[in-house]
């Protein structure tokens, strides 16, 4: 039995790196600083060790050959999931370039709301350590923050010490839209977060009015989607009075039509506040299932985010047309390679095309794929790198045990060579 400390996690999105784990053979147990996201993800047992073709155990080489055959026979393959570490994603890109595939990260339809806003007007954003040390006012828009990241408040807001705040428990927390699922946002001094609830679909209107109030526009209506205008006016004044306010949202949680306009509205509001003799920053939540890793690696190797097509021989980006689920539904794709190094519950979409799955050992299928190659998990079975949610910090993942499972990159590189 060995104990390993300061273990970084690729699962929670915030790049927690203070876990202590005990490793006994192939078994891993989180003994310190675990949470409902990280502990089960680290502790999941290895079940599959053999690759399969049509449900039968085969050697890795046979599975790789079959996978390459399927990709070669395809006119428009898809590299889906794309939930992996940096090296895994580099290999996804290499296979896609050679096979003329579409690369589509599984969270892209959510992330698209951010990319559309970014590529239209941009934003002013911040990262975790700035929040931890500077943020005196946090506005949470349309997301249950502690549901997203159970230890977020403990790690980044109710930290005992900060460089620039005298007392971190004086930070003000305001929820707009969704109410929090628990009490993590209650300050150590017992002050509860202010919650102004509305339906998700009403957020565009509420944000629009809030931005108007920040800009001192006259609002005649006394309430907006059930929220009193006077309450929103108070938030507007507080945002302007704060020294370093932060507005956070999760694109994936804004599940309504044209939610990119809400992302844009709040990002433009942050820019407005920065012209009013104070500072403010946005903070998009994400980083799970390797989504920031996929976008970063696709970004530097192709210059586009992770919804890009290579069948013309060069990268082409379209955040709508190359949605792999839509392509499969419409019969526009004829092979799927699903890459998921982290999460066995994240199975490939149902599709009537030849399917290759390169995934974490233990994935259970309703319909057995043509090829299944179980791989090790980055940060458990091999070293690697993963981006956390702010897209700035790449954490160095450790190898915790010797499972003998190949890495995602090993498998995809072999497929690329066989193509």
């Amino acid at each position: 039995m060995t104990e390993i400390t300061e273990v970084p996690s690729p699962f929670c999105g915030v790049g927690t790196d203070d876990l202590t784990v005990q490793v006994d053979g192939l078994s891993v147990k989180v003994t310190e600083n675990g949470c409902t996201v990280n502990s089960p993800a680290f502790e999941q047992a290895i079940t599959d060790t053999s690759a399969r073709v049509h449900g039968k155990d085969v050697t890795l080489e046979e599975a790789v050959t079959k996978a390459a055959d399927l990709l070669r026979a395809s006119n428009q393959p898809i590299m889906g999931g794309c939930a992996t570490d940096v090296n895994g994603m580099r290999s996804v890109m290499a296979v896609a370039d050679k096979a003329g595939a579409v690369v589509d990260n599984m969270n892209f339809t959510g992330a698209r709301r951010n990319f559309l806003a970014l590529q239209d007007t941009g934003w002013m954003n911040t990262t975790l350590a700035e929040i931890k040390n500077r943020c005196d006012y946090l506005l949470v828009v349309g997301v249950d923050l502690e549901g997203f990241s159970p230890r977020f408040f403990e790690q980044y807001l109710w930290n005992k010490e900060s460089m620039f705040l005298e007392n971190t428990s004086n930070r003000e927390i305001v929820y707009l839209g969704k109410a929090p699922s628990g009490d993590a946002s209650t300050s150590p001094a017992g002050v509860k977060a202010k919650v102004l609830e509305c339906a998700d679909a009403d957020l565009p209107e509420v944000m629009e009015v809030l931005r108007a109030l920040v800009k001192d526009k006259k609002i005649v209506a006394e309430s907006v989607s059930g929220i009193a205008t006077s309450e929103l006016r108070t938030i507007a004044e507080q945002l302007k009075a704060a020294k370093y306010s932060v507005v956070t949202w999760a694109a994936g949680a804004l599940n309504f039509d044209q939610a990119e306009l809400t992302v844009q509205m709040l990002s433009e509001m942050v820019k407005d506040i920065n012209t009013m003799d104070t500072r403010s920053s946005g903070f998009p939540l994400g980083g799970k299932e390797g989504d920031q890793t996929a976008n970063q690696v696709c970004g530097w190797t192709s210059a586009y985010p992770a919804r890009t097509k290579f069948s013309a021989g060069c990268p082409e980006y379209d955040p709508f047309l190359f949605d792999s689920n839509a392509m499969l539904d419409n019969g526009e794709a004829d092979a799927l390679c699903w890459v998921q190094s982290f999460n066995t519950a994240s199975v490939p979409p149902k599709a009537n095309v030849p399917t290759i799955v390169v995934a974490r050992s233990g994935m259970v299928f309703e319909k057995e794929p043509d090829v299944f190659i179980p791989v090790g998990t980055p940060g458990i079975d091999h070293t690697g790198h993963a981006y956390r949610l702010d897209s700035v910090v790449a954490i160095r993942l450790k190898k915790l045990r010797d499972s003998g499972l190949p890495s995602t990159a090993d498998v995809l590189n072999a497929i690329e060579q066989a193509l």
């Binding site: 300061e6 970084p8 915030v14 790049g15 790196d17 940096v86 090296n87 580099r90 290499a94 370039d97 050679k98 970014l118 590529q119 239209d120 007007t121 941009g122 934003w123 002013m124 954003n125 911040t126 990262t127 975790l128 350590a129 700035e130 931890k132 040390n133 500077r134 010490e161 900060s162 460089m163 620039f164 020294k243 370093y244 003799d277 104070t278 500072r279 920053s281 976008n295 970063q296 970004g299 530097w300 190797t301 192709s302 210059a303 586009y304 985010p305 290579f310 013309a312 021989g313 060069c314 990268p315 082409e316 980006y317 790198h385 702010d390 700035v392 910090v393 790449a394 954490i395 160095r396």
Partner: protein, 554 residues
């Protein structure tokens, strides 16, 4: 493997060779004067009548790190105009303002460049910078780690820590980030912006730390010198782009008190306030000051007309320039109590008075600095223009009549505000070889690059003489990297993976005790997880690290 390069006209300023006909031998990737007599030549290249230089080195180009990737994500419409197709030996990608990593490597190599240095590696973003550069084929790479707005250093200054403690911190950070130099951007200004300061002059205090940019420059330049790093402190000064900043820049030069200092993209820091538009050239004054102060080096950061995108650590100035964004979208980020970044697309236009004069100011500086070993050819890619404009820039420097023809087309008021037409200087081939090879290698501190002498790595570019220098420099006949032929007739024929150049200055281990406490109290990762290990660069079997010598430390 023994190569013979026969009868080329060689320009190798590092060896004092200026246009002599010479035959070169390369054995296993390095130059050798006299190969063993019984050793057969594996391949001979007849270079009679060709111009031979070492591979070019871009000592300041934004090719790795988060802000570059933000720039890529921000402008898909720019990529669509320059798709790069896959071939049997090359990967697909996109080009123009901020190319994809693979395309960056191919296009640099196709212009005869064999190394590029990222000038702004944020310590916290060092992994990304190195991972991106690891996906740039052919080129050697490396970078300068950014300090000066990090809260750790500013806390040290407020606490009046001694120079020795600062030296240890700088050396430790260089090792943690795998750097070959140290950069400071708007000294303390990125930090001040987080406290809502919108400008910070050389003697203006950070409102929280009460520290001035002048003090930051002084301690960092001293640290770099005292830990023996050959590349002088790499300075992006105060007040970038602000009319009148020529005064600040001259003061910065004087204020450093003779310490080695490199002023980067100095064109953006050479503006006066004269004339009807209150914007004028400080080029002559800056060049005169550089000529006088032998401790100073500078790269120009030339602007060239057209669409590009600016990506800088200088959040303060990028934010104040966002109203010029074209197209109108932009990003700033405050980053991790470490630094920040700002990304603003720009379209420099020859009929815009300010842009036209910026163009002329850059050329004035190139032509008025006497010593070619102390000025360097850059566009601050992509900030002044994409690196693919270098052959055009070389023609502007080497061909007076072409330069004057171009001058005649820019905004007429800008023509009146520059002395460019009266400058007769034309750069020689040897001087171009100094700016882009020998001088750059010396400035970065590379022991065995930028030269064709025995023992140096065989990075070689072969050109065909052409009076049109743009044509000549955009399409070399051959490029060799470490003795391997990688480009023929301006096209990649073979790809290799370059090394990462670093230095490993020493530090006192006790520095990490304080850092550990600081990380545990205020940061969002453990100090042990912050430091990059060597295997992060080498474990894929492609990357390698090359540590260069340091100056002797007393």
């Amino acid at each position: 493997m023994l190569l013979k390069l026969t009868g080329g006209t060689v320009y190798d300023p590092a060896s004092g060779i200026d246009g002599q006909v010479k035959t070169l031998f390369v054995l296993d990737g390095k130059f050798i004067n006299h190969p063993p007599t019984d050793m057969p030549v594996d391949k001979e290249y007849d270079l009679k009548g060709k111009v031979v230089m070492s591979g070019a080195i871009d000592m300041h180009t934004h090719i790795g790190g988060g802000k570059g990737n933000i720039a890529r994500m921000l402008i898909p419409e720019d990529h669509r105009n320059d798709p790069v197709y896959r071939s049997d030996i090359t990967r697909s990608g996109c080009g123009h303002a901020m190319p994809s990593s693979f395309t960056t490597g191919y296009r640099y190599a196709e212009m005869g460049y064999t190394a590029g240095f990222e000038p702004a590696i944020l310590p916290i973003n060092a992994r990304q910078a190195h991972m991106e550069m690891a996906d740039i084929p052919i080129l050697d790479k490396g970078g300068y780690v950014m300090l000066g707005s990090d809260d750790y250093l500013l806390r040290m200054l407020t606490a009046k820590k001694d120079q020795k403690a600062i030296n240890d911190y700088v050396a430790w950070t260089m090792n943690a980030a795998k750097a070959i130099g140290v950069k400071v951007v708007n000294p303390g200004g990125i930090n001040a912006f987080k406290f809502n300061q919108r400008q910070l002059d050389l003697d203006e205090k950070n409102s929280h730390y009460q520290v001035t940019p002048r003090e930051i420059l002084q301690v960092l330049a001293t640290a770099v010198k005292e830990i023996g790093v050959k590349h002088p402190l790499h300075v992006h000064g105060c007040n970038l782009g602000v009319p009148g900043n020529v005064g600040t820049t001259l003061d910065t030069i004087q204020g450093i008190g003779g310490l080695p200092m490199h002023l980067t993209h100095i064109q953006f820091h050479s503006y006066g306030t004269e004339g009807d538009f209150k914007f004028s050239s400080g080029g002559a004054a800056i060049a005169e000051s550089i000529n006088k102060n032998k401790n100073i080096t500078a790269d120009v950061g030339q602007i060239l007309f057209g669409q590009t995108i600016t990506a800088s650590g200088d959040t303060m100035k990028q934010h104040s320039n966002h109203s010029y964004a074209n197209p109108n979208k932009w990003v700033t980020m405050d980053i991790e109590c470490d630094a920040g970044c700002g990304v603003v697309p720009f379209k420099y236009r020859d009929q815009n008075f300010v842009n036209a004069l910026q163009w002329a100011i850059g050329l004035e500086i190139f032509l008025l600095v006497d010593d070619p070993w102390r000025v360097f050819l850059t566009t601050d890619h992509p900030n002044g223009a994409p690196f693919t404009t270098y052959p055009h820039l070389i023609r502007l420097l080497m061909d007076k009549s072409f330069r004057n023809d171009m001058l005649a087309t820019i905004h007429p008021e800008a023509q009146k505000m520059t002395t460019l037409a009266s400058i007769d200087r034309e750069y020689t081939l040897q001087e171009i070889a100094i700016l882009t090879r020998a001088g750059a290698a010396k400035l970065v501190g590379l022991d065995d690059r930028g030269s064709l002498a025995e023992g140096a790595w065989a990075d070689i570019t072969v050109y065909t003489e052409d009076a049109d220098r743009e044509k000549m420099f955009e399409k070399p006949d051959y490029v060799f990297k470490d003795g391997e032929l990688v480009v023929v007739d301006g096209k990649v024929v073979h790809t290799t993976w370059g090394t990462t150049h670093i230095v490993t200055p020493e530090w006192d281990n006790s520095v990490e005790k304080d850092l550990q406490k600081y990380f545990d109290r205020f940061m969002t990762m453990k100090v042990g997880n912050f430091k990059m290990s060597n295997d992060e660069i080498t474990e894929d079997g492609r990357g390698s690290l090359t540590a260069h010598s340091l100056n002797r430390v007393s």
